[in-house]
Amino acid sequence: MPDALISLTAIDKIFASGIRALQSVSMSIAPGEFVSLLGPSGCGKSTVLRLVAGLDAPTAGRIEAPAWRDPAHALTAFVFQDATLLPWADVFDNVWLPLRLAGVSRQQAASRVEALLAQMGLTEFAHARPAALSGGMRMRVAIARARVADPEVLLMDEPFAALDEITRQRLNADLLAGWQAAPMAVMFVTHSVFEAAFLSQRVIVMGARPGRVVDTVTIDEPYPRSSAFRTSPKYADICRHLSSALEAAMAGSAA
């Protein structure tokens, strides 16, 4: 892909325990592109994310990404499956954290933080502590925090897996709205065919043992995607296609 923002070439990752998490994985993501990584557990999708974020290094192969290019600035944001909020700080301070670590004072950051709180519907909870929030609210705070520093890359590792369906769909919609307003490359890891189909422009299907890319499916539905899309025949088709790709990936790994 020309001018790829993120590119992985023939990446191998073997952990110290001897487990081969990734074998010859290659992929590239364009700036502003929304890509899902879909696959069964153990296929290395979280590992791919950690490599892109610079939290881990490949055993072999080449990786290019903003996190690797620029050691000084934090251009990559990560949303974990657990909201990973600082329990001793309130919502405002949690969202302020990336800016704070970059040297921006509370006063200077206030307008940006407040804007994001407003976008994520958190304004009245600005001084609440994470312990007082529901799982869905905490995830909203995590997303607000991820977006506050205007990252080039947003990495999300099954962020909505622990939430109920309604909250999940609402957050899906909010995520897309935020992405449309301020385009950034998104790598979204999920094991839900439905979620991958609804959110992404492209779905990379991965198989397990060892982790490898099995298929890539492009979804050319334009944005914004409303809930009407979920009930359309096109969506059902895409989901069917993805499901069989997933099954094939899982069958391949059983071999």
Partner: protein, 253 residues
Amino acid sequence: MSCRAFDRMLPGAALIGFMIGWEVLVRLAQIPHYTLPAPSLIAQTLWTHAGSLAGSWWFTLKVTFSALILAMAGGVLLASVFALWRPLERAFFPLAVMLQVTPVVAVAPLILIYVDSTTVALLLCTWVAAFFPILSNTLIGLRATDAGHRDLFHLYRATPWQRLRLLLVPTALPYFVAGLKISGGLSLIGAVTAEMVAGAAGRETGLASRILEASFRTETPKMFAALALLAFTGVAIFWLFDRLSRALLHHWH
């Protein structure tokens, strides 16, 4: 009476009940004052000897809290050093454990050989008794950072100072406070034990000397009066640290 008000009254009510029971027992069984004095006699003795007991009480408090502050400083410092350099921890942690299990009564006479000032000797003995829980707990706390938080700070290129201030200290705080609560009581016990063994009557003396003196002079009510002050101090210290713990941590722990 509301549930909460009743709860708050329970300890006070239990204590009063205990005192009344004690008074009744002594009177009914006609237990002599030199074996077990009644609470009324102890209270009277406290009043009569308020002056000298207050002075001794103040001395014991000074030693207890000075040693506690030194234990906090020492414990936190050592924990930070150990957290930063594992080889140092492996080398010196066993020494710290050895210090903790050495009884003060054995160590005190040895310390006295090398240290001239009695007060310094007392502080040293008390420090030995009190520093380990703070060291141990703070070390655990410094290592207890959440992996996700560590990743977060790495992602955002936090400096070591930022890590310490914004991640390590808040994470370690509940553990440190737990250690502090334990050390508070140990400081008091350590101060009293050290003085019983290493203290010298006459000059600056604390409650331990008053207890010993009363014991040797067969002044049993006075001995109990000093013991009562000690018990009260122990409870007060515990209550103080409980409040402190709540103030520091209530909003999230």
